[in-house]
Symmetry: C2
Subunit: 205 residues, 2 copies
């Protein structure tokens, strides 16, 4: 994941460095061109007094694999909505804690939108609780009754690993992997590794 921080005066802030140590900081002019190769997140800083329209001309919003997050010195729900409306994936505080920035990066990298707690609550009201309750049984660990070791094996299978790979990773014999898998199939009722993968990954058929 590439991180590109765009600022009027390119200067790395401490919280950025902590959250995104590998990020490159560039000025707005430098980003106008951009060969548009690679994938990652482009963090665009909006300083106090600046408006989204001020930096928009510098942002080819659709930039191949890049998604845009607005880093606002003075964030607000209105600004967040505006950011989304121009195609950004979210908006958060310039001085947010590194943990928060990392969270934002994770969400955005996976195609999500970061809208912040207050706006989210405003939009969805108190749906969150209901959603949380709904999410449980849906995401409910698809590995009930599996031992610790079996869950490890199951997760690796779900990620697409072969028996050999799992054996190497867990430092056990391939034979043992098979034994665990047989037990897993027995307990879960899955027919084979592919079916198991679909269940664990929550694929709806």
């Amino acid at each position: 994941m590439n991180h590109l921080i765009v600022d009027r005066e390119p200067r790395m802030l401490p919280n950025w460095r902590d959250a995104l140590p590998a990020a490159a900081v560039v000025s707005r002019r430098e980003t106008v061109g951009g060969d548009g190769s690679g994938v990652g997140i482009r963090w665009c800083r909006l300083r106090t007094g600046e408006k989204l329209a001020d930096v928009l001309p510098h942002l080819p919003v659709i930039l191949s694999g890049y998604r845009t997050v607005i880093l606002a010195d003075e964030p607000s729900d209105a600004l967040t909505l505006e950011s989304l409306s121009v195609g950004a994936s979210g908006c958060c505080n310039t001085h947010a804690a590194p943990e928060v920035l990392k969270q934002v990066a994770l969400v955005v990298a996976n195609g999500g939108l970061w809208v912040g707690q207050s706006l989210l609550q405003q939009v969805i009201g108190n749906t969150s609780r209901a959603l949380a309750q709904r999410a449980k049984p849906a995401v409910d660990d698809p590995l009930p009754g599996l031992s610790e070791r079996e869950q490890q094996v199951a997760r690796l299978v779900a990620a697409g690993a072969s028996n050999k790979e799992i054996a190497d990773r867990l430092k056990i014999a391939e034979r043992t992997v098979k034994a665990h898998l047989t037990a897993i199939f027995e307990k879960t009722g899955a027919r084979d590794r592919l079916q198991l993968s679909l269940r664990i990954n929550g694929v709806k058929l």
Copy 2:
């Protein structure tokens, strides 16, 4: 997928019949108990003049595998928000076209929320276009360059089918399925059917 339509006066409307031929229509009283078994969608009709609070007591909102959609005779953005806030998965017009109802069922069955075009636009502004453009490359058919037949095979594999099952379904020899798969692996770079499944199902690793 089970469909349960809850109405004050249980009577199947034509558009419901077209969209959900297998749906059961019951009165509100009958739903109070409910053994809560099975999974599906509970469509709850809200007639003209009725308020969400009028039917809420009849709805154990969290009902195991069931999700709730409000069918409103007089839908509005406000009602939709209210529906979401009490845990429903969406709100749409009682007299919506069967195609629309089917769409709603599909979205909700897969854990999505149905909020309707006008509210969506209001909330997200004109992000929709940007999102659509973003969604493409993300969801972008993971089957570029595959022939029609190869795509069929790939999709069945992604759904967990064995070669034999695919052969039966497509009425071709198992050998042919293997031939298609070999071509698919070659074109996509996938190592085996499990990897292919993960890609097509968009599983993040």
